[in-house]
Symmetry: C2
Subunit: 190 residues, 2 copies
Amino acid sequence: MKVNYPNPSLNNLKPKKIKSYGMMFEEALNISNEYYRIQDIAYIYKKPTPIQVVKVEYPSRNKAKIVEAYYKTPSTTDYNGIYKGKYIDYEAKETNNLSFSFTHIAKHQMEHLQKVHKHGGLAFIIIYYKKINKVVIIDIIPFMKLYKLGLENNEKSITYTKALEIGIEVKLKYSPQIDYIKALDEYYKL
Amino acid sequence: MKVNYPNPSLNNLKPKKIKSYGMMFEEALNISNEYYRIQDIAYIYKKPTPIQVVKVEYPSRNKAKIVEAYYKTPSTTDYNGIYKGKYIDYEAKETNNLSFSFTHIAKHQMEHLQKVHKHGGLAFIIIYYKKINKVVIIDIIPFMKLYKLGLENNEKSITYTKALEIGIEVKLKYSPQIDYIKALDEYYKL
């Protein structure tokens, strides 16, 4: 599929920091996904945060007001959807350190991503190394290999260099800011 | 893929009403999806209901208590996931009437399902006709055809007979109660 960007000249403007746009990584991802939808490229959404509603009031007839509720642990990953006929599923994480700690990913999320891979979907983790303003995608299979090796050798995190070795860099630009679909094309030969 | 049910003899026990198990259609669907996950057949989840959180309190240090929040309109459909390498996306609806009114499906949901179809996913609506205890799957394409015809001819709903004509019946049994994956195999020749 050919991807036409509305204003190619803007694509070369590289932001120094995602932060400099006044938005965090997740917001930048959400806006990038919105861009892909508007351009009819991919339909990928962030799942709403699961909330356990305990008490609801009705101050006016038409509006339910939740007055007691609690955050729940998500059962899967943050994002899923479809691109080029493929089921896409990923977890997005950012780190303040130069190395991404494995503890940032919950075990049930790793398991979920492995199931997705086994059933023919594209399952990966997308990591934002905030300090150096770099984004990398790592497929769940090499990620798990590294994770298991790490358990044996007491290595608890992935440096950016190591991430690049087994994953692929996502170029940051103007619009979409995090053009990870382009990176997926190359990484997975789509 | 061969599907082995844990206790085949139970599969022949057909509940007279889904209700008789003390659960509603959505709950029965959720439990069926859980069954598919446990059996490693499909990974399909209900998306959490989106909630706009306005105010959070911290009565104890570790627990955030949401004290003001409102329900938001979901941007997509209720369920999505992966089966046999395919992206699956559907909306589940039940009706108390013998005919399913088109007004039950929001326009942006119909549009979303058409996009999914266009991009190679399986997009459909699953309807539970409560009165007659029947469940039908209708692919979004014949559904939209009927919807458009309906607009021209002032027909605002789909009878069960019509639904069967363009869709496929989902057999109700013991476990999984709503075995729609089996119906998908036949309907989409998977």
